[in-house]
Symmetry: C2
Subunit: 292 residues, 2 copies
Amino acid sequence: MQLIDGKAIAAEIKKEIAKEIEEIVNAGGKTPHLAAILVGHDGGSETYVAHKVKACGECGFKSTLIRFEDDITEEELLNEVERLNNDDDVDGFIVQLPLPKHISEQRVIEAIDYKKDVDGFHPINVGRMSIGLPCFVSATPAGIIELLKRYNIDTQGKSCVVLGRSNIVGKPVATLMMQKGNPGNATVTVCHSRSENLKEICKGADIIIAALGSPEFVTADMVKDGAVIVDVGTTRVPSDKTKSGFKLTGDVKFDEVADKCSYITPVPGGVGPMTIVSLMKNTLLAGKKCIY
Amino acid sequence: MQLIDGKAIAAEIKKEIAKEIEEIVNAGGKTPHLAAILVGHDGGSETYVAHKVKACGECGFKSTLIRFEDDITEEELLNEVERLNNDDDVDGFIVQLPLPKHISEQRVIEAIDYKKDVDGFHPINVGRMSIGLPCFVSATPAGIIELLKRYNIDTQGKSCVVLGRSNIVGKPVATLMMQKGNPGNATVTVCHSRSENLKEICKGADIIIAALGSPEFVTADMVKDGAVIVDVGTTRVPSDKTKSGFKLTGDVKFDEVADKCSYITPVPGGVGPMTIVSLMKNTLLAGKKCIY
C-alpha cells in the first residue's frame, strides 16, 4: 500500500507556483490577487479561510480577507460581490460557504463574475467543465485529479465508483473521471443514498472516490484488493484526544481499508491540502488571464 | 415486453401543448415563436428541421426557418444569431447542427442568448442542469426522462448504464438519471469506447440507455431479463429495401433484445419523436418566460 501524500504534493505545487510568480513579477507582470469574503464566525469556515490566506502568502499572491458579521443582508453581500467584480486589481475571489440561512447561496454564486469565479461554482464554469471547455474547475475535484496524475495512477478503462452526488464534489469529479484524457477515460458509477447494492458495487471498483460526508462509511469488506481509495470526507467528529475537541474523520475506515489498497489518501493530509492548492492554481490562471 | 411508443406519447404531448396555446392565445397571450437557422443542405438536417417546423404548426406555435448556403461566414452567422437574440418576437431559436467545418459550432452556441437557447446547449443551461436549477434541458435527454415518466417506469435505486459520453446525450442523461426525483435517483454508470468489461456491465443493468451511434451494438447476451432499454441510436444504414436508400438503425439489435426486456423503445418511433417534442416544450417554456 502506498499512501497518497496530499500534503507533500500540495507543498510541491505551491513551490512551483511561487517560482512562476517570482518570474512573472520579475518580468514586470502583475501579482495575482485573491479576495475572500467570510460571513460570520463558523469554526470550519474560519479555518478554511485562514488556510487559503496562508497559501496565498506561500504562493506569492496578494490576498484580501473581507469579513462581515452574520447579520449582513443579502443585498449588502451582493453589493460587495459587485464591487469585487468591478475591482480590476482583484483577479479572482471566493465567498466562503456556508452562508447564513437568510442569504441565498445560489444567488450569491451566480452574482460572481464567472471570469473571477476561482471556486468554479458559477453555472457557466460548471457547464463548461461538463462540455470539456477551458474553465475554472472546482477545487476538490481538480485536486483529486491532480493527485492521481502526480502518482501516475492509470485510470483509463478502469471502473471508478464515486460515492456521493453533490454539486461540488461527486458530480464534477465523476465528469472529470469519464472525460477523455488521463486521468480520465474511466467507467464511472455514481452512487448515493438511494443506491441499492452499494457494497457490491464498491467491491467491483478499481478506484473509489468517497465523498458522502459519512464518517468511516467505507469498510474493508467493500474494497477489492489493490483498489485505489480517495477519501474526500472531512467530518468533525467529537474527540477527547485532541486539543480542539474534535477529530477530522474521513469517509473511509482507514485502519482496516489501508492494507487492502494499492493507494489511499489519508484524512487529514490527503485531498484537503489539494483543495486549497487547486484554488491557488485557479487564482494563478485568473491572474494570467489564461481562461477568459 | 412492452413497446415504448414515443410516437404516440409525442402526439399526446403536442395535443396538450396545442390546448394550452389555444387557452393562452384566447386570453390575449403571445403565440410562442421558434426560429431555426439551417445552413447548407445536409439530408439529415433538412429532415430534422422540416419535422421541427411541422411540430411547431401542430402545437400552434409560430415558426420561422432561416436558410443560408454553406458558404456563409462565421461572422455572418454570428450576426444573424445576434439579430435573433435581439428580436423580441422570437422566444427561442436553434441553429441546426452540424455546421460547415469553417464555422466553430461552440462559438455559435455560446453566442446564443441562453434565455432563448431552447436546445439547451449553452454552457449556462448545461451548468444549471448539472446543478439542478431551472433551465432548458437539451431535447434528447429530456425526451428520454419524459418517456420513462409517462410509462411509470421506476428508476429509483435502479442501476442504469448509459452507453456513450457525448455532450448532447450521454453526459446530460446520466446527470438527469442520478438527480433526486423520479425518474432519477438511479445508480448511473457511464460507459464509452474506453470502457473495459462493457458486456458484463450492461448485463448487470436494470436500465440501459444506448447512445453510442453504433448500429446494433447492444446484443441479447448483454441484456438482463426484464431490463428497460432506451435506444437513442439513429444511424442511417444503406438499405435496398427503402425508397430513400437507407434505413434508420438503432444502437440495439432490436429483434433479439426485445424479447428479454420489460420495456424497449423502437427505432424509429421511440426517442426520435420525443426529441422534437422536448424542443416544443422548451419553446412553450420560453414563450411563457417560465425559466428566465
